[in-house]
């Protein structure tokens, strides 16, 4: 389903080479709920960008849905992001000028869906995360928890292979954070593949498998039974 093979990522910072990932390999199966943990500078953001097809590895291969994407061009990567990956960000990253409904429709626009179909799908997904009565609101008119639900709806709307969440509770209070995590638990139960980057152990506990990163290498890959 998703395979990382000996991935290295080297940044050129002026004259200094920084090795953010020093050869990381793992395999994630369909339906898994995986947390990637590590202190800052461990390379977890870099790894997330590569899994999210926002960035490409310097060395090694990344295979998603049976396809090696490590050497694809910008446009092909955009297609993979559009069809196979659903992003949930710490900062929600909703477009503030338009309604929640339109925000959820964006991935469908780039997928070339017709307006009627888009509206139907986006409304359905928003209802499933409990935002059926908020579709016309702008992001500034709803709470942080609701924003993150909208973002989850946006991640789900294209029915992606994986849901990739980057510190999804980082900007929320504990109670709201728990509510959001319940949604992820539910998604996992429904059979979605969820990969979550976090530095909070408590949040990572929701996953069935935790990959610990340190200094660009996997320190521990624990599977809970």
């Amino acid at each position: 389903m998703l395979e990382i093979k000996k991935i290295k990522k080297i940044y050129q910072m002026g004259k200094v080479k920084v090795e953010a990932l020093k050869g990381v390999s793992f395999y994630i199966d369909k339906g898994e709920f995986v947390a990637i943990m590590g202190p800052s500078g461990s390379g977890k953001s870099t790894l997330m960008h590569i899994i999210g097809c926002l960035d490409q590895p310097t060395e090694g291969n990344f295979i998603i849905g049976g396809k090696d994407v490590s050497k694809l061009n910008d446009d092909r990567l955009a297609e993979i992001r559009n069809k196979s990956i659903g992003f949930v960000f710490q900062q929600f990253n909703l477009l503030s000028r338009t309604s929640i409904l339109h925000n959820v429709e964006i991935p469908l626009i780039y997928a070339g869906q017709k307006s009627k179909q888009r509206r139907k799908l986006a409304t359905q997904v928003l209802e499933s995360v409990g935002l059926g009565d908020r579709v016309k609101h702008k992001p500034s008119e709803i709470s942080g928890g609701e924003k993150q639900r909208a973002a989850i709806a946006r991640a789900l709307v294209n029915d992606p292979l994986i849901i990739l969440a980057d510190e999804p509770t980082g900007n929320l209070d504990t109670k709201t954070g728990e509510e959001i995590m319940k949604i992820f638990d539910k998604l996992h139960q429904q059979g979605h593949t969820v990969i979550m980057v976090t530095h909070e152990a408590e949040i990572a506990e929701h996953a069935q498998r935790i990959i610990h990163l340190r200094d660009g290498l996997i320190e521990k890959d624990e599977v809970k039974t």
Binding site: F87, A111, R154
Partner: protein, 405 residues
């Protein structure tokens, strides 16, 4: 997809109404100015051309030459060349010329009761009316009998009659003409119809008397001011010019053409056309510069917009936007700016041209080509200056863009 992107561009422009308006201003002014200037230029030219052909394209003015200053004396018009007889000689010697009308003119004061008006007094003969295609509103024009007996009769321009007599019938009324500090009594025998303003001034504000009266009583001179000659037809005008020139050079023994000057309507038209054309070109050029400045304004605002929306670009890319999607989003935004600016500019240019045409009393001439040209130029400018910001947006690295605060 393209419809979505257009909607997106309009939405984003609507979100910043004031900024949108300000960045469109340059294009609005540029397009408006181009349309207004071209329209004013063609309107004015059309009016002048109409006036000149109203006079007949076959009319040639024969003017006294300008003598060169001798030593300390100032150069002056050599008026003492043209006599009444010479007019007849020219007419007889030039087969392409139908008639030559002598004209003496000067400034005089018309007095009626408590009113007086300083005006141009034209001394001429019967043919003047025919040559100028100038009809009477009432009464009659100077006739042969008046000329033979140098009668003190006067024909008024329509404006003069109105000012001096109001709604009263001026025919048969006596009035005083004061010319070079001497007073004469004249009887009004006719009023001319109203005529548009010509190059020579307002014909409606002139008065006409027999040329013999003018020469014997007013100016006391055997020379006239100038001649107006009429060729048989417009086609023969240039032949007529050649014949008159040939005859006058011989008759006046004036190889250098110092004593006379020929001015045909064609020449006047040419001069006016070239003057108005170069004026339009110059003003149009200034307007085009304003369009260019408008384009730079659009580029500036688009660059600001791209930087401001770096995060939006990152989000869109993360959600699957290809580089070309981002590129077209910003390019269409720039095109919408310049396109809308162009449309508003057309409206303003039209209004401006209309207002000025009303004020100048000339026809409103808006050529589709000037509208298309100005609008097309505005769109091209939007495309040109929008391209760089759009490319900058499209090339952004999604990771960097998402990190942007």
């Amino acid at each position: 997809m393209i419809f979505e992107i257009i909607k997106l561009a309009i939405d984003s422009l609507r979100a910043n109404k004031l900024r949108t308006l300000l960045s469109m201003l340059g294009i609005i002014i540029g397009v408006g100015a181009v349309i207004a200037i071209v329209s004013i230029g063609s309107g004015a030219r059309e009016q002048i051309t109409a006036q000149i052909s109203d006079l007949g394209s076959n009319v040639i003015n024969i003017l006294p030459g300008t003598s060169k200053g001798w030593g300390g004396s100032i150069s002056a018009s050599s008026v003492e060349v043209f006599t009444l007889e010479l007019a007849d000689y020219i007419e007889k010697a030039s087969p392409s010329v139908k008639r030559v009308v002598p004209i003496s003119q000067g400034s005089g004061l018309l007095i009626k009761g408590n009113f007086n008006i300083q005006t141009t007094i034209i001394g001429t003969n019967t043919d003047y009316q025919v040559l100028n295609n100038y009809n009477l509103a009432m009464g009659q024009f100077v006739n042969e009998g008046d000329l033979d007996t140098s009668r003190n009769i006067i024909v008024l321009g329509s404006g003069l009659a109105e000012e001096l007599f109001g709604s009263n019938n001026p025919l048969g009324e006596k009035m005083k003409l004061s010319y070079q500090e001497r007073d004469y009594l004249f009887t009004v025998i006719g009023v001319m119809e109203e005529k548009g303003k010509g190059l020579a001034g307002d014909l409606n504000e002139q008065a006409y008397i027999p040329i013999t009266t003018f020469m014997k009583k007013l100016s006391n001179s055997r020379f006239v001011s100038y001649y107006m000659a009429q060729a048989n037809s417009g086609d023969e005008a240039s032949a007529a010019v050649g014949e008159i020139e040939y005859f006058l050079i011989k008759y006046l023994d004036d190889e250098e053409k110092e004593k006379f000057n020929l001015l045909s309507q064609d020449q006047i038209l040419d001069t006016i056309s070239s003057v108005t054309a170069s004026l339009s070109l110059m003003l149009g050029g200034i307007a085009a510069i304003s369009l260019l400045v408008g384009g730079i304004g659009i580029m500036n605002i688009m660059l600001v917009s791209v930087t401001e929306r770096t995060r939006e670009i990152g989000i869109r890319k993360a959600l699957g936007a290809k580089n070309k999607n981002i590129m077209s989003q910003f390019l269409i935004e720039a095109l919408s700016l310049s396109g809308m600016g162009g449309l508003v500019g057309i409206a303003f240019g039209w209004l401006g041209a209309y207002a000025i045409a009303q004020a100048g009393k000339w026809p409103l001439v808006i050529t589709p080509i000037s509208v298309l040209l100005a609008f097309g130029f505005a769109v091209i400018i939007g495309l040109f200056f929008g391209l760089y910001p759009a490319m900058k947006a499209a090339k952004m690295d999604p990771v960097e863009a998402l990190r942007y605060e």
